[in-house]
Amino acid sequence: MEKDQIKQVIAKRVAMELKDGDVVNLGIGIPTLVPNYLKKGVEVILQTENGMLGMGPAPEEGKENPELTNAGGGYITALAGASSFDSATSFGIIRGGHVDVSILGALQVDEKGDLANWMIPGKKTPGMGGAMDLLVGAKKVILAMEHTAKGNPKIMKKCTLPLTAAGQVDMIITEMGVIEVTPQGLVLKEIHPEFTVEQVKAATEAALIIADDLKPMAV
């Protein structure tokens, strides 16, 4: 699969998890593509952690408002009905369980639903930004991520990088399939038709439980 197609497959499948009226927070990268694939009749309310509910798409060229930006510093628009607020209110919304779904990327995730995505000691430490709060606060956490990084597994038995949060991930969606985090471990629920179960297992360090009713990935 080409890089572009990988991103599209993941974003399209993640979009199917969202329900009409959900309050959703999107991380940077693949998660930002998700709104492009929402089914007809599904409208979600996008929260941006720097302080707005009702975030709209990027403005047309020449209509940028320097006071209206997202958490990545990009220009955005405010949809009708949007509201903006300070950072304490924004994170009250996040920690208080008022965000239905948080969609993030990952460096590593493991069998317990532990996630690492904020630092690689000695190499790169961008900081956690709002990720630690989003993980513990959102009702449902979905990882939208490529299955491997340069051929190395990202879905581990146990994360080796410093954690962003312990035991908070609910679902992992990659170009290879859909994995649910359960108390028994990681369950492969759907598999992309281009891959075999053996290939998915080989690309995954963690033990995978194969669902009895394993389905083709709905994309």
Partner: protein, 215 residues
Amino acid sequence: MNKFISIEKAVSQVKEGMTVMVGGFLANGTPNAIVDALAQSGVKNLTLICNDTAYPDKGVGQLIANKQVKKLIVSHIGTNPCTSEQMNSGELDIEFVPQGTLAERIRSGGAGLGGFLTTTGMGTIVAEGKPVVCVEGKEYLLEKPLRADIALVGASVGDKSGNLIYKGTSQNFNPLMASAADLVIAEISELVEVGELAPEAVRTPAIFVDYIVEK
């Protein structure tokens, strides 16, 4: 009471070794005229409290690039390579704080609270050395309040008494920081007369603002 001061006077309030809070999120909402002048001033050994370090040539990122900061309390530095370079070389001491925890610590500092309890950071290195408090069977980290000697905030609209309004997403940390410092300087983009702002639209009440700089 006249709160107006020049940018030069505002910058001269920031003295070597002080702890300074600066509002803004990737420079949106940052009092950029004051910060630009502060970067020119060369005042050093600052402890800087802000959400992020913006960019090397924009916002508080300039203070990092100029090596005016010795300690940084921040949630994200990924947009400014100077910050990680100085961290790796040991020149800059950084305390990483989850963004929601940073906001609430500042709010606590301004609201007279001894801190607050949160599950954010449990099971991570953020929890190291912090007391854990059990409330109704659930464990939380105790996070302490943050205050500063000076807060520099940026407002879209303000009246001459210092009541402030923030447009778009420029609010972010500004109202919190305005409550949590001994001295507060607000940079106002659009200045109006006292009485022109609807009381219920004001986000930072004038009592928090000591000085005003007109942009």
